[in-house]
């Protein structure tokens, strides 16, 4: 088997962004891609958010650390902690120790740094950009998100948020000292304030206002990260890979992902389907024949029928997965690759190597 050009090209680039919803094997696929790249002599870093304990151990990431760790040969791994990165950013940019503590302890900050849509993604990029120059290739396992597209929109969302001009203009003058310092001039402004007061109360607004005041100095560095992230995503050396599973619910997702990338002029390289029934992948396994004439003399009649029924149900599952795979490929217009379901969880370098071999078959260097 020859390596697929879509994968070869991605491995020859500078950054691979591995997208996909949670639970499809994104981390494993990222690690396998990095292993394949390291195997062809490129100094590669895989950045992952939350690897399973055993994968963490085999990648040498047992300790919580924000620095690249050597795994083996040219393969390095780094564990990302978006909350930690965010806290570090606050520490670096806060004007004083008091300002720093005010931000870190504010409950809005605690909520935002944990949950605001886009912050995890941007923080992942922030951590990554700090070490990018040391490596030939970085494989970024994107944070678990509900949808594959969430990552692409992260910079815009964060920019929307930190574009606090509107927000600060609105909040600052009115809530200083916890009371309305002056009446908004417009009827919309006045009515809106009245609604807010009755809905959430001025105590709530005061805390929010305080947060923005404390956070003010950080907006700029935040914006810079988001802008740099946008630029990096558009770089010629950056490709996107979608990880998926062969099921009905994933078909439209593949199409939406490809569409979203095209709309943003970003470069998609492939869809990788994980945990595919081996019978649905040509060359991965040989399914038994269900014909009456093929063997069976070793079994009692009832047992033979039972085994054949079982195999028939298995074949139905495999056929369905094969169908979904083809649909994912057709509807997304992307190269679709399949990794057969392995008997065990992928948690060591050997089994990672098996996955890598499916994505990038070892052979004469191209």
């Amino acid at each position: 088997m020859k390596p697929h050009p879509a994968i070869s090209n991605a491995l020859a680039g500078k950054l691979i962004v591995v997208c996909g919803p949670g639970g499809v094997g994104k981390t494993t696929t990222s690690a396998a891609l990095a292993l394949a790249a390291a195997g062809r002599g490129r100094k590669t870093l895989v950045c992952t958010i939350d690897p399973s304990k055993r994968l963490r151990t085999s990648l040498g990431l047992a300790r919580l650390t924000g620095a690249p760790q050597k795994v083996k040969g040219k393969l390095y791994a780094m564990r990302l902690d978006p909350k930690q990165t965010f806290d570090d950013l606050v520490r670096r940019h806060a004007s004083s120790a008091e300002a720093r503590d005010r931000v870190l302890q504010n409950r809005f900050y605690q909520q935002i740094s944990r949950h605001l849509a886009g912050t995890h993604e941007v923080m992942a990029m922030e951590a990554l950009m700090g070490v990018a120059s040391d490596f030939d290739l970085i494989v970024l396992d994107t944070p678990p998100a509900s949808s594959a597209i969430a990552f692409l929109d992260a910079p815009k969302r964060v920019l929307d948020f930190v574009d606090g001009r509107v927000l600060r203009y609105f909040l600052k003058p009115y809530f200083v000292a916890g009371r309305l310092a002056f009446e908004p001039k417009t009827i919309v402004g006045r009515t809106f304030l009245r609604i807010l007061d009755s809905a959430v109360g001025l105590a709530f607004l005061r805390e929010l206002s305080e947060f923005f005041l404390a956070f003010e100095g950080l907006f700029d560095s935040f914006r810079k990260t988001a802008v740099a992230m946008e630029a990096l995503l558009r770089d010629q050396g950056t490709t996107f890979i979608l990880v998926t599973t062969p099921s009905s619910s994933r078909v439209s997702e593949g199409a939406l992902f490809a569409q979203a990338l095209r709309a943003r002029s970003l470069r998609a390289s492939a869809v990788i389907a994980n945990r595919v029934h081996p019978w649905a992948i040509p060359g991965a396994a040989t399914p038994p024949s269900l014909e009456d004439t093929k063997g069976g003399s070793l079994f009692a009649k009832g047992v033979l029928a039972e085994l054949r029924d079982l195999a028939a149900r298995e074949q139905t599952r495999a056929d369905a997965e094969g169908r979904y795979l083809r649909q994912i490929a057709t509807k997304s217009g992307l190269t679709a690759m399949a990794i057969p379901e392995l008997e065990t969880d992928v948690h060591d370098l050997r089994s990672l190597g098996q996955v890598a071999a499916w994505l990038y078959p070892p052979g004469p260097a191209s």
Binding site: P21, G22, G23, S52, R107, F108, Q111, H115, A117, P144, S146, S147, D160, F161, V166, L167, F170, I187, V188, G189, T191, F192, I195, D197, S198, A199, V200, G201, L202, A203, F204, E207, L208, T245, S248, S249, T286, P287, P288, S289, G295, G296, L298, F299, A300, G302, V303, L304, E306, L307, R308, L310, A311, R313, E314, T316, R317, A320, E343, D345
Partner: protein, 305 residues
Amino acid sequence: MTPGSSRKDEGPDTDGVLFVLGKGGVGKSVVSAGLATLAVKRGRTTLLVRIGESLEAYGGGSSSPTRARPGFDELDLRPRAAMDEYVQHVVRIRPLVERITRSEVYKKFFAAAPGLPELVLLGRIRAYFDETDRLGKARYETIIVDCPSSGHGLLMIETPFAAFRAVPVGPFARLAAQIIEWLTHSVRIAIVAIPEEMAVVEAIEFKEDLEARTGLRPALAILNRMRLESLSREARLALREVEAPKGSNDHLLLDCARESLRRARLETFHRRRLARGLGLEPVLVRELPNPRPLTVAEALVAETA
């Protein structure tokens, strides 16, 4: 349960408000639709609320249910739509409402105020729960809420508790307190998982986080996508004793059966682990080639019978 009607099947209890939670990709949405369909089959007036994959402040959705068929309403609820409706309720002057809800300040405030979208959403669902007709009969006997997946779902439920702890006075706190009361006494929580390592581990962690942060506990566990294959005693004996030549069709058949047996044992392992971790025996849902609300509703009943 409403007087005069009773459940005849053995499936899970679908009366009242049920929040359906689970990791992404476990079939939470189709299980929610299956539960709603089951409630409709039982003669309950039912509302299926879909919050969708994330608590998006912007875009889409509505805040009024559409009738799917008699006795069954559906609603794609988005925080923004619910908030707009709230503004409308308070202001009442339509042109002014539009000017407010279209203004940048309003949009940004709504997106940036932590906890507000979650509280507004929960408040809206609670309002459906309280709605009655002129005779005082509840508009909905069953409300199934298809929640955002794991982390976001937990965040949504946790918000009123966190908000109340942070600012225990004022209208915001009163709203939070009312929602806490409702969540604690009138809402049941269902956790959906599939027989896979990550999904089961996450379901158990979810239960622990939920309890630690809110004191709430799941009332229902659903283990979806179970193959539930079993082998007869004779077939298992054949697996041990028959030696088929390697590469022969018999050998392939035996391999397939062995794999099936291995999987069945794994399913049992995950079922027991989930039951132990949640303190609940899960309702099993058979793997369906192309799951639809109706077939899932049937499957929800079949394995408990």
